[in-house]
C-alpha cells in the first residue's frame, strides 16, 4: 500500500477509535429518543447531559450554557444571526475581522443585506488584529464583536483575553469561533470574558456533523432552528445522540493533556517549517511565528500554483491543502492570505500542512524529502521561474 501521510488535520480529523467505541452503543441498542419518558429514552438523555458536562468542564462554563448543534457552521450562524436579531433594539453594528472563516463572513454579508452594519477589522502581516483599532471601532450601536480564536489557514492565535476584556468593558457581546482552537489551545470562557463560543467535533477527533455553541448565561439570543423543546427549547431537532456522546468524549480526551499535545506538535511543526525554508528557496512562512496553532504550517512557494502541488503531493501519499482557489471557480486566492498582504501571484502558491495526533517524526522527514523535489519539478514547468 502507498504510504499515507495525512497533513490536513485543520480540514478534518479521523474519529478516534476510543471516541467511536463510546458512540457505537447509541446507534443500535441505546437508541431511545432523549425526550421520551421510558428508560431507554432517559438513558440517552443522561448520556447527553454527561457530554454537556464534559464540554462545560473543558471551557470552564456551566453545563446549562452549552448547546449542541449540527456543526461549527451552524454554531457560527446561530451566534451571529441570533445575537443580531435579538439585540437589534440596541443597535445594528457588528465588528469582526477580515480573516474569519466563511461561516462568519458570509453570515455578516447576509446581515449587511438585512440592514446591519459590519466592520471588518484588518490584520497585520502576521494575521493579528489591533486592539486599538477594535477599541476605535466600537460605537454606541455596536452589539457584537466576533473574532476567531485561531485562524484555520495561517494558524494565528488572537489575543483573545485582551479582546474579551475590552468587550466586557464596552458592554458588547464577544463571540469567538474557536473551531480550530479547541483541543489545541487552553480556553477559559470566564477568565477570557467570552460570551459566545463555537466549536466543532470533527476538528478534535470527534465525528463530523456535530458541534456546540457556548452561550453565557444572560446573553440575549434568538433561536436559529425552531421546533421541538430540545436543548432547553433553544435548538430544535432530535438530538444527534451518538454524535453528541462522541463530541463529549473527544473534547475530554483532547483536553486531558493539551500542554503535552501542543509541545509534541510544536516540535514537529518547527522542524518542518525550518526544513522547508532551508531546503526550498523563495519560500515564505505565513502567519505568526509564535502565536500559532501547534499543528499549523502555512507556506508560499513562489512561481507555482497550489492545486498542482496538492495533486503531486497526493501522488506521494501526502494529504494537504492550499489557499489557491482557482479550481473552485472563484478566482481569488484565500481572503486570509490577501488580508495578510500577500499578492495574488504568491498566494496562489500557498500550501497548508496541518499536523495532528498521527503525525510522526518520520512523516516530517518524508515530507522534507519529497516536497522540495515536487516544488522543483513544478517550477521547472513554470513560465514564471528563471533559474
Amino acid at each position: 500500500m502507498k504510504r499515507l501521510v495525512y497533513m490536513d488535520h485543520a480540514a478534518t480529523t479521523p474519529t478516534s477509535t476510543e471516541v467511536l467505541n463510546e458512540m457505537l452503543p447509541y446507534f443500535t441498542e441505546k437508541f431511545g429518543n432523549p425526550s421520551s419518558v421510558y428508560s431507554i429514552g432517559r438513558e440517552t438523555k443522561s448520556a447527553i447531559e454527561k457530554a454537556r458536562e464534559q464540554v462545560a468542564k473543558v471551557l470552564n462554563a456551566d453545563t446549562n450554557e452549552i448547546f449542541f448543534t449540527g456543526g461549527g457552521s451552524e454554531a457560527d450562524n446561530w451566534a451571529l444571526k441570533g445575537v443580531a436579531m435579538a439585540n437589534a433594539g440596541k443597535g445594528k453594528h457588528i465588528i469582526t475581522t477580515s480573516i474569519e472563516h466563511h461561516a462568519i463572513l458570509h453570515v455578516c454579508e447576509y446581515l449587511e443585506k438585512n440592514g446591519y452594519k459590519v466592520t471588518y477589522l484588518p490584520v497585520d502581516k502576521d494575521g493579528l488584529i489591533s486592539i486599538d483599532e477594535l477599541k476605535n471601532a466600537v460605537t454606541d450601536e455596536t452589539i457584537l464583536v466576533s473574532v476567531m480564536f485561531a485562524n484555520n489557514e495561517i494558524g494565528t492565535i488572537q489575543n483573545i483575553a485582551e479582546i474579551g476584556k475590552l468587550c466586557r468593558e464596552k458592554k458588547v457581546y464577544f463571540h469567538t469561533d474557536a473551531v480550530q482552537a479547541v483541543g489545541n489551545v487552553p480556553i477559559d470562557v470566564k477568565e477570557m470574558n467570552i460570551d459566545l463560543l463555537s466549536l466543532s467535533a470533527h476538528k478534535f477527533y470527534g465525528p463530523k456533523g456535530v458541534g456546540a455553541l457556548y452561550i453565557r448565561k444572560g446573553v440575549k439570543i434568538q433561536q436559529l432552528i425552531h421546533g421541538g423543546g430540545q436543548e432547553k427549547s433553544r435548538r430544535a431537532g432530535t438530538e444527534n445522540v451518538p454524535g453528541i456522546i462522541g463530541l463529549g468524549k473527544a473534547i475530554e480526551i483532547a483536553c486531558l493533556d493539551i500542554q503535552g499535545h501542543a509541545e509534541r506538535l510544536i516540535k514537529l511543526r518547527n522542524k518542518l517549517i525550518e526544513g522547508l525554508i532551508e531546503k526550498i528557496p523563495h519560500t515564505r512562512l505565513n502567519g505568526h511565528f509564535e502565536k500559532r496553532l501547534p499543528g499549523n504550517v502555512n507556506v508560499c512557494f513562489e512561481f507555482i500554483e497550489g492545486e498542482s502541488l496538492l495533486l503531486l503531493l497526493d501522488e506521494m501519499g501526502i494529504c494537504a491543502s492550499s489557499g489557491s482557489a482557482c479550481s473552485s471557480g472563484s478566482l481569488d486566492p484565500s481572503h486570509v492570505l490577501l488580508a495578510i498582504g500577500l499578492s495574488h501571484e504568491i498566494a496562489h502558491g500557498s500550501l497548508r500542512l496541518s499536523l495532528g495526533e498521527a503525525t510522526t517524526d518520520e512523516d516530517i522527514d518524508y515530507i522534507l524529502d519529497v516536497l522540495p523535489k515536487i516544488v522543483e519539478r513544478l517550477r521547472n514547468m513554470s513560465p514564471l521561474y528563471e533559474e
Binding site: 507555482i304 497550489g306 492545486e307 498542482s308 482557482c326 479550481s327 514547468m381 513560465p383
Partner: protein, 139 residues
C-alpha cells in the same frame, strides 16, 4: 475528480520546456488569476514540427497544455488553428465543469503562438475574440 487521461498528462506532461529561437510564442493567462500558459512553436513549411509549453496553473491547465501540444505537432498551421478547447477536452476524456476554462487557455495560447509566427513572417494576425475566461481582470 480528473480522468485517468488528465492525470496521466499531468503526471507525465509531454513537451514541457522551451524552444530556443522559436518561430512563434504565445502567452496567455495571468499570474494574478493563478494561471499562465506559454506555448512555443517550431514551424517548417506551414507545418508545426515541434511545440513545447510552460504552465503555471492547476492540474487541468498542465494537462491541457500537454495535450494541446500533442495535438498540434505535425499539423498545418491552419489545422492547428482550428483545434478548439473542445477537442482538447475530448482528447483528455473530459474535464470537470469548473476546469473548462483551463482548456480554453490552451486554445488561446495556440492562437497567440500562431499569430506571433504570422506577425514575425510579416502576415496579418488573425483576429480572435478572446473568450472571457473567468472575469479575472488583466492588470
Amino acid at each position: 475528480m480528473y480522468s485517468d487521461k488528465v492525470m496521466d498528462h499531468f503526471m507525465n506532461p509531454r513537451n514541457v520546456g522551451e524552444i530556443e529561437n522559436a518561430d512563434g510564442v504565445g502567452t496567455v493567462g495571468n499570474a494574478k488569476c493563478g494561471d499562465i500558459m506559454k506555448i512555443y512553436l517550431k514551424v517548417e513549411d506551414d507545418v508545426i514540427k515541434d511545440a513545447k509549453f510552460k504552465t503555471f496553473g492547476c492540474g487541468a491547465a498542465v494537462a491541457s497544455s500537454s495535450m494541446a501540444t500533442e495535438l498540434i505537432i505535425g499539423k498545418t498551421l491552419d489545422d492547428a488553428w482550428n483545434i478548439s478547447n473542445k477537442a482538447v477536452i475530448e482528447a483528455l476524456e473530459g474535464l470537470p465543469p469548473v476546469k473548462v476554462h483551463c482548456s480554453v487557455l490552451a486554445e488561446d495560447a495556440i492562437h497567440e503562438a500562431i499569430n506571433d509566427y504570422r506577425v514575425k513572417k510579416g502576415l496579418e494576425p488573425i483576429h480572435v475574440e478572446h473568450k472571457d475566461l473567468h472575469g479575472c481582470e488583466e492588470e
